[in-house]
């Protein structure tokens, strides 16, 4: 199964990937990294993703705009989305959910919580 991880901070991106890769035993996940919303848009048509994990605060296009695009797109609307963002933006969380994001995770989080939510998205 393939997961797209979108995050503009390089070390946060590699941290997210590491957690998903090393702690999600048994899921056999393949991870594709995008370091911006633009990059995510470019990568999307070339794979069939089973889930998308995205940050909210990013330059150019932010996570909510990416979710809005995915959830209104005929091809991508079925891909489950996990939004990972920092606390203090309850309003943005509400908006992410209103746009159709399936799960929301608040930074800082425990690796096990990320894996748990992702597992739920993938139906595993």
């Amino acid at each position: 199964m393939k997961v797209l991880v979108v995050e503009d901070s390089p070390s946060m991106l590699s941290m997210l990937s590491n957690i998903i890769e090393s702690d999600s035993d048994g899921l056999a996940l393949e991870i594709v990294e995008a370091s911006s919303g633009f990059e995510a848009l470019k990568i999307l048509p070339h794979h069939r993703f089973d889930a998308v994990v995205t940050d909210i605060n990013m330059p150019d296009i932010n996570g909510l705009e990416l979710v809005s695009f995915l959830k209104s797109h005929p091809t991508y609307r079925e891909i489950p989305v996990l939004v990972v963002s920092t606390e203090g933006s309850a309003e943005d969380r509400r908006r992410a959910e209103a746009l159709g994001a399936e799960e929301y995770l608040v930074k800082p989080f425990e690796p096990v919580d990320l894996v748990e939510k992702l597992r739920r998205l993938l139906g595993g």
Binding site: M12, N18, L41
Partner: protein, 667 residues
Amino acid sequence: MKREDQKARQEFTSEAEELLEALSSDVVELESQGEEVRPELVNKIFREVHSLKGLAGMLGFDQISELSHGLEDMLDRLRMGKIPINRTLVDVLFDSVDSLNRLVIAIQNPEVAGLVDLPGLAGRIRDLSSSQRPRKGEKGLDRIDLDEQTRRSLTEYEEHRLGENLRKQRSIFSIELSFDFATFDEKLRAATSVLNESGEVISTLPAIDPSGAGEGIAFRLLYGTMAEREEVERRLGGEARVSSLVRQPSAPAAAAQGEALDDEISLRSVSNTVRVDIARLDAVMNIVGELIVEKTSLESLSRGFGLQSERIGFQELNRIARNLDRKLSDLQRSVIEIRMVPVGQIYSKLARTVRKLARELGKEIELVLRGEETELDKMMVEELTDPLMHIIRNAIDHGIEPAAERVAAGKPSAGSVVLDAYQKGNSVVIDVSDDGRGIDPERIRPVALRRGLIEPRESVDLPRAIELLFTPGFSTAAAVSGVSGRGVGLDVVRKNIQDLKGTIEVMSEPGSGSTFRISLPITLAILQALIVRAGTDAYAIPLTSVEESLRIRPDEIRTVEGREVYMLRERAIPLLRLSDAFATESEPRSKHFIVVTRSGERQIGLLVDSLVRQQEIVIKSIGARLDSVPGIAGATEIGENEIILVVDVGSLIDQFGSAARGRRAAG
């Protein structure tokens, strides 16, 4: 986080260093932008701190996480317009970047952490976060036609920016752009940066390519700007679909203003107060603080007087004098800025009256308002309301033809009145243009004849017709419709504008409309002046009155009908010796300078001995005793304690006559 601990730590350190470097240069940029900070910059600084906080939190660097958390809260409030930007805040940002840098170094060298005063810094950040900025009224988001999907995908911050753009009375456009998949990022970034030069891209929403081929991708931008739709399209090179989202594009503030307007009452506001952005007051406060520092150095210098060498004391005194001089100019500039308000403040009043007038006269009028952000001294903006209203009334009443006549002439049935304010050098220009019938000398002539303003055989061309419009006693308006005039003619309008040291000129094209152009100095408090010498004294002549200056020989001065004149490009300019006007001593000289000055349509050449320089002057009143002396606007200090008189060209011409009068007498 077990196996990856060391690697993650290294990655964190290098990313944190990069973030802090970017942060540091952004804070420098923030400081240099002063009061007009671009929202994108504040948001970028917020995002950098936000990223740092997220990373530090994940890796358990508690001190960095806590400090950046407090900072993030403060920056969030700043970008949401809840707290003002000021010197203290910028200082706290600089100190925070410093401390964060030290904390990052402390990951490798723990002893460095001792250099950071975390509780002190946290307290300063808390104080700033809890400061309040006055609420600025409704955002008016319900005036925007936004579909549910787009509205939902705005972050809280984007929604705030949308509200701010509306509050500034900018137009909100939806811009749809389609790009090729391979290059969309570069092209979109290029388009965004073009747009940001004259407005603000509020949000960027990707969408399915409308062509459906799957080869490309579309974006929908929300864009706030003062520019017109056509201008936005032109900038984007014609490939964008631009549409307006604001339901009431003209006079958006009208509804908020509430009370019905009685046309009989002057439109001038009764309030003598100026609403001031706190940041501008903070700027003044800062300068006052700096002045106190200089005062302290002066005190310590005087205490040590005689103790240090004369040379060092002298150098120090010099330094203080230079600093005082600089700070005082800063203070002066800041206070003038506080007096500045956007011309847009009176636009909404004008728009209401235009609607009312159009209804009364049964004319369809489209009022276009441009340049509402142009700033002018508060006092001048108020003084301008009545003259502007008068000119607009004339345009609607006399300029714009009845609908049937317009259609017959191939024009749209709705007449257009355009108000355009813009800055030009040291002046602010306000153009009032209409697309009506223009000024017709054939219609002016019989009226002027009836009023006894011209001789029966005198012919009237366009310049003469315009001159007649401004002649006292010409106003016919009340008789015609009861809308224009009210017993007040354009002569009063011109007088009002001249009192503001401004000029008014008229351009008209028969059949296609007229433009009344008002030019005003940005403020009356400070003006550019030409310093001249005549006889024993120096004088300052406001540059707004000066047309040109030239050097002449005494034998070039001629006498016509007992009056000295100079032939300038085949036109006789009456001359006035400035030393005679103020009855000071002067000796015959081998060369002179003429400063050609103008007040309205009247010209006079001031004969002076020498031109000294141009400089900014501040006019001071010279007290009641000399206030009534014609030709004097006040006094000013031009450095080295020299106080000189400021010439008031308008009243000099009133007193000694002008070219216009001289010419008419001759013709």
